[in-house]
């Protein structure tokens, strides 16, 4: 289907696709197996100028007025080849959004040009006792002169240990609950900022997921994004912008799995004919294609709405993430079924798609939390009538 990309967007898609085919496909199995971070691939992504697609021109990027859509398009293309490697790019976008949303012009000038040219970023909110319930985080930031002293830890941080720049959330006033949280930019190497356990995961194994540890870590007040206590709002606005990106990652995984399934079904012969000649299998592929296209339409519509300046896109963002990730799970599992026995082996790339798909139903808010958001928006809307 033609989604009427701008000429620049078509170039972004083509550029990302070339990287996916030439730089990611040949190494995805290796990075998955070894669970190593794909620095060489990320460098290729940066060298192709793709790191700046969601960053405004004045800060070294080329977002135009379609930054979120651009971010989704690149994430989708990279994820078609590998949902883990693509996360080096998408996880950086998540870590960058708080700076774009809540940062001052000075702060944007300080960090965004580097990110636009290939500095990795990360986002840190989750803690062991603060997952879906982010408001109950325990990491504290205590004011000390012109600085804050951070203590605590963050769990499951994408790009953790690999990124240079971290948007970290901490309580500046515990008595105020969610309204007592603030967001800080931390840089790798700050005294008192170290990395803990690196997770051994089911999927997205080419992505680093690691604990951040703060022990009397001194952070200048100049690194605080927005005013004190605005952290939770910054996080929520970040998710409104980033969830279509998770959707795009899921969409890429689903679309990539579908492509592989169609190719395999056309070449695999049983009973004297290619298995795609069986109507039962054709209908399965048709259902997969329908779901992929519906996810794509929803994500693109949401991304474009956000880019147009939507003030509260929460419901559509949650729908994009939730729908696309459920599609990715279903389509990738069905794609394994199309492959049959070999699809269950690591000789073929398809099983990885299902392992990578699973996380998209969990992170940046589980799909149960997304449904809560959607229902809450429904209720609010009805109450306003």
């Amino acid at each position: 289907m033609d989604y009427f990309f701008t000429e620049e967007q078509q170039m972004m898609v083509d550029t990302a696709r070339e990287i996916a085919v030439k730089k990611i496909v040949p190494v995805r199995a290796k990075y998955d197996e070894e669970q190593q971070f794909p620095h060489d691939v990320f460098k290729a992504i940066a060298d192709a100028d793709l790191c700046g697609v969601y960053i405004p021109e004045e800060y070294g990027g080329c977002a135009g007025d379609t930054g979120i859509m651009n971010m989704c398009l690149v994430t989708e293309e990279l994820s078609k080849a590998c949902g883990g490697i693509s996360l080096s790019f998408a996880g950086t976008a998540l870590g960058t959004l708080p700076i774009m949303i809540a940062g001052s012009d000075e702060q944007k000038k300080r960090w965004l040009p580097g990110i636009a040219t290939g500095t990795l970023a990360a986002f840190g909110i989750t803690e062991s006792d603060a997952g879906s319930d982010a408001g109950s985080m325990r990491t504290t930031a205590t004011k000390d002169g012109d600085d804050y002293i951070l203590n605590g830890s963050k769990l499951f941080i994408t790009n953790g240990g690999e990124a240079e720049i971290y948007s970290v959330f901490a309580m500046t006033d515990k008595t105020k609950g969610a309204r007592g949280a603030s967001c800080f930019v931390l840089e790798k190497g700050m005294p008192g900022f170290t990395f803990g356990k690196k997770e051994d995961k089911m999927g997205i194994r080419a992505s680093a997921t690691r604990e951040l540890v703060f022990q009397d870590c001194r952070v200048p007040a100049a690194n605080r994004l927005g005013r004190e206590g605005s952290g939770f709002m910054t996080a929520m606005k970040t998710f409104d912008n980033s969830r279509p990106g998770v959707g795009a990652q899921a969409l890429g995984i689903a679309a990539g799995a579908l492509d592989l399934a169609v190719d395999y079904a056309r070449t695999r012969r049983q009973f004297g004919q290619p298995i795609i000649a069986n109507q039962g299998l054709q209908w399965m592929l048709a259902d997969m294609a329908m779901q992929v296209e519906a996810a794509r339409a929803l994500i693109y519509a949401t991304a474009r709405w956000i880019d147009s300046g939507a003030s509260r896109p929460t419901m559509a963002s949650a729908m994009s993430k939730c729908f696309a990730s459920d599609v990715a799970m279903k389509v990738s599992i069905d794609a394994i079924q199309v492959f049959g026995g070999v699809g269950y082996t690591k000789e073929y790339p398809i099983e990885k798609y299902a392992r990578d798909a699973k996380i998209t139903q969990i992170y940046e808010g589980t799909n149960q939390i997304q449904r809560n958001e959607i229902a809450l928006a429904l209720i609010k809307e009805a109450a306003r009538k």
Binding site: E7, E8, M11, M12, D14, T15, E18, I19, K22, K23, A44, D47, A48, D49, L50, G52, V53, C62
Partner: protein, 262 residues
């Protein structure tokens, strides 16, 4: 340093077939690409400019108007400017007249260095690079696999020979043809593609480069292609089997006599 890189647009021969009836290339539906060996020349030119921190890379191609696409792609890969040599007078040229046209354009551009791929994947002659150097009376080094150093007035390069490597010092300006061992070409970047889209491609004809129309194109070509054909397929060899080695030898000798090979 001004570097001129000569490129050729060729059919993507990984997908090309020869029509057995007409013995011509089936060009229909076949994508045109930059001659793969020339992509190494482009990359090397861009790397030299990046290493020296100054200079420019001009890509040069002789071809039909469609060859502009190859020049734009070269700009997306890092070249600064592009010149297309396009005229009916140039059509049908062999390697002699083609290298003359390129040499005249290079003379007008006045570079310090000319780079080209070792050969094109369609004609496979490997004659145009050396031909340019002949027409310009500049030194040449072919099959270059490494540029050790390059500066004002001189370059030191490694050339791949059949049985080893040769280290050559060449005075600049010079013509170097490169092999794929020299580098790994980068992928086009987004900003490169945007620059390529906006780039103005200069087009020159025989008047612009001061070429005598009688000496270029088909008219200026001392060679003509008499016929193009695919070599006939050779059948599988015949296995000679027998009870003993001496019996096999006897059968082989009989066969040799029968075929009158010796």
């Amino acid at each position: 340093m001004h570097i001129v890189v000569c490129i050729k647009q060729v059919p993507d021969t990984t997908n090309v077939r020869i029509n057995p009836k007409t013995n011509t290339l089936e060009r229909e539906g076949v994508e045109s690409i930059i001659n793969p060996f020339d992509t190494y020349a482009i990359e090397e030119g861009v790397r030299i400019r990046e290493r020296l921190g100054e200079g420019k890379v001009t890509v040069l191609s002789m071809g039909p108007p469609q060859a502009e696409a190859a020049l734009r792609e070269a700009i997306s890969l890092g070249a600064d400017e592009a010149v297309l040599l396009c005229s009916r007078a140039f059509a049908g040229g062999d390697t002699w007249s083609t290298s003359l046209v390129l040499a005249l354009a290079i003379k007008k551009l006045g570079p310090d260095l000319v780079l080209a791929g070792k050969q094109a994947i369609d004609g496979d002659t490997a004659q145009v690079g050396p031909g340019i150097s002949y027409h310009l009376d500049w030194p040449q080094a072919c099959y270059v696999s490494k540029i050790r150093e390059i500066g004002k007035g001189q370059a030191v390069v490694e050339s791949l020979l059949e049985n080893g490597k040769e280290v050559l010092a060449v005075e600049l300006p010079a013509v170097l043809t490169v092999v794929k061992e020299i580098n790994e070409p980068r992928l086009p970047s987004l900003k490169g593609k945007m620059r390529a889209k906006k780039a103005v491609i200069t087009t020159w004809n025989e008047t612009d480069i001061g070429a005598d129309p009688e000496l270029v194109g088909l008219k200026g070509s001392p060679t003509t292609v008499a016929r193009v054909f695919s070599p006939s397929r050779r059948g599988a060899g015949e296995m000679i089997k027998a009870e003993s080695a001496s019996e096999v030898a006897r059968l082989v000798v009989a066969k040799i006599k029968e075929l009158k090979i010796v």
